[in-house]
């Protein structure tokens, strides 16, 4: 079974991921791809304590995740891959052709970002990066939880542009 979700979410492991997606999709493992987290035992312990016992969590920097992706994609159990930012996902996608879609799950407010969804704020550079991702043939949608509609990137950006 392929990885169910390749998600960009600055909170990484949190309620929406573990419970909101985790329970209905019966998620059995998380792959957390982040250079800083992968190099910090304290950070890894923090996230390990946040996942329920029935769920595994694996940590990789982007370069290692590119090499390991096929192993997790071939896993028969459902899983979710997480990055905290667009740049990490972009680097991952550049090295893994098997990824067909990217989920925008949480990119929250900070200075210089414009709001597109309650949970998606982007700088002009981040918006351009997502457009480039989509131009490679990836499906890019915004969807915080399974019960919400997956909003295509172009629709999300155009809604904002006409407000």
């Amino acid at each position: 079974m392929p990885i169910q979700l390749h998600r960009i979410d600055d909170r990484l492991v949190h309620g929406q991921v573990v419970v909101g997606w985790g329970q209905p999709l019966n998620i059995r493992f998380l792959v957390l791809v982040d250079d800083a987290v992968a190099s910090s035992e304290w950070e890894k312990d923090l996230y390990r304590m946040a996942v329920p016992p029935e769920m595994e969590i694996h940590f990789f920097d982007v370069a290692t995740a590119i090499r390991e992706h096929s192993r997790f994609a071939a896993d028969k159990r459902p899983g979710i891959l997480l990055t905290a930012d667009i740049d990490s996902m972009q680097r991952l996608v550049s090295g893994v052709t098997a990824i067909g879609s990217v989920n925008l799950g949480g990119i929250h407010h900070r200075a210089g970002r414009t709001q597109y969804r309650r949970y998606v704020y982007l700088t002009p550079d981040e918006e351009a990066a997502l457009r480039r991702l989509e131009a490679t043939g990836l499906e890019v949608t915004a969807q915080d939880v399974p019960a919400a509609r997956a909003v295509p990137l172009s629709e999300m950006l155009s809604e904002r542009e006409t407000r």
Binding site: V13, H14, G15, A50, V51, H108
Partner: protein
């Protein structure tokens, strides 16, 4: 300005959760006990991890709060609280808070934050019951 509490005294607490969770629980505590002012509610809605950390850190620094209650062990509030605690000695976290937990806390006579937190957690745990049909 920080409250002048002896080291370790429970004092007030922060309640952090999803949506209106904290607001709702605190309103229930106020209705039952009249002591809602002992609790400071924070919602994580729409907040980045660093925003949540800042919101939790503020009452610790300005009000001398030493107890943090969060709703979900896997939630972003709990992760943020644990990051804050790295640089906040003496602060204790209880995750999975419910109404019984908070009611115990606001009436606590425990001398330290850790004891008050442990007692409140135990009360909350014991309040979960299942009544089977028939």
């Amino acid at each position: 300005m920080s409250e002048e509490l002896p080291a370790g005294v429970p004092g007030r607490a922060v309640v952090v959760g999803h949506g209106a969770f904290a607001e709702g629980l605190i309103s229930a505590v106020a209705q039952i006990s009249g002591m809602g002012e002992k609790l400071i509610g924070i919602s994580n809605t729409g907040m980045s991890p660093t925003d949540i950390e800042a919101a939790i850190r503020s009452p610790l620094e300005t009000l001398g709060v030493r107890v943090i209650f969060t709703d979900l062990p896997s939630g972003s509030a709990t992760l943020a609280a644990r990051r804050v605690m790295r640089n906040a000695p003496g602060v204790v976290l209880v995750s999975g808070v419910n109404l019984a937990t908070l009611l115990d806390f606001v009436f606590t006579s425990c001398p330290t934050a850790s004891e008050a937190a442990r007692a409140a957690a135990e009360r909350g745990r014991a309040s979960l019951i299942v009544v089977e049909p028939g």
